[in-house]
Amino acid sequence: MAMAAALRREGRRLAQPINALQSHSSLISQDQAPHGARSISTQIVRNRMKSVKNIQKITKAMKMVAASKLRAVQTRAENSRGLWQPFTALLGDNPSADVKKNVVVTISSDKGLCGGINSTSVKISRILHKLNSGPDKETKYVLLGEKAKVQLVRDSKKDIELTLTELQKNPLNYTQVSVLADDILKNVEYDALRIVFNKFHSVVSFLPTVSTILSPEVIEKEAEAGGKLGELDSYEIEGGETKSEILQNLADFQFSCVMYNAVLENACSEQGARMSAMDSSSRNAGDMLDRLTLTYNRTRQASITTELIEIISGASALTG
């Protein structure tokens, strides 16, 4: 952006001598040329054009890489949606449960150049924090990915409980996500876990979503309020286990499944956002290249015209 502003300034400065020539005066800008030279140098513009062209090539390549990675993850993300759907059918979705200890799990990427998805996730996490702050209540953060850590460290340092990075070193699999879900469950006390991630709807649309998972005690409490949870008692329990044990197992497994889906969807959204960011970057580079080409041609023609004028006026002065 600074480069574009500098280019615009250059364009204006270079345009002045052309306008001056057109109005038949002999002002020549000496800004870019070394002292004593009579023609305007095109070297600077040429250098800029070369670097902009290189940037355009790089961003085009990054877009292709992101597109191929997206294809690979997309089918897995869509298939993993079936993991949490039975849980929502059984337990319902309770985003408005009022609990004392909230833990916000923010999922973000480790690498940058992916548009605004990490900022939207962090924004939603901050909103959740604000919504759930009150006299007894407290909200803690668990951060996955570097980008969320960097943003939240600025103002919410004391609320961060855990940070996890380097998740995408091996291809994402359920075992890895379940191990980190297990670590989160072991290290953090919670009444409700709110997972914030970007759900992948299509290549151009990623919506930030919050999935809520309640701890077994809170489920018992909410069951009294009726709704889906109140119907849990109508299910028959096999084996020798009690209802609270089953709820405990279900809560663990639900967290692990929802995390797996969330991590995959976020990875998809990251690749999609990177694709569109690199695409708009290539397009901007192309526009900049067009403008620079025009400036270059104008400068070149102006210097040729100047040379011609000098030669002709010199010749006519000699012949008299």
Partner: protein, 87 residues
């Protein structure tokens, strides 16, 4: 098959359901024949870097790197699975 008393044995040992199911999955994956076994074990690689924060300061990150076998399989009593006789 797992519970006979008030609490299943693995919960009494401090494991969560997630750890229990991961161990079982690892046992199943180890029962496969090559080449499927190598593919399945490659789906089990775990790598991430976890760091706990205390008072707004991160502690030194602990690198958790399990290669293909889950660490607990050697030291815990393995339940017998009667139905997996086809592998």
């Amino acid at each position: 098959m797992a519970s006979s008393g008030a609490v299943p044995f693995w919960r009494a040992a401090g494991m969560t359901y997630i750890t229990y199911s991961n161990i079982c999955a690892n046992l199943v994956r180890n029962c496969l024949k090559e080449p499927h076994k190598a593919e399945a074990l490659s789906r089990e690689k775990v790598h991430f870097s976890l760091s706990k924060w205390v008072d707004g300061k991160p502690e030194k990150p602990s690198m958790l790197l399990f290669s293909s076998s889950y660490p607990f399989t050697d030291s815990i009593i393995i339940p017998t699975f009667n139905s997996f006789s086809d592998y």
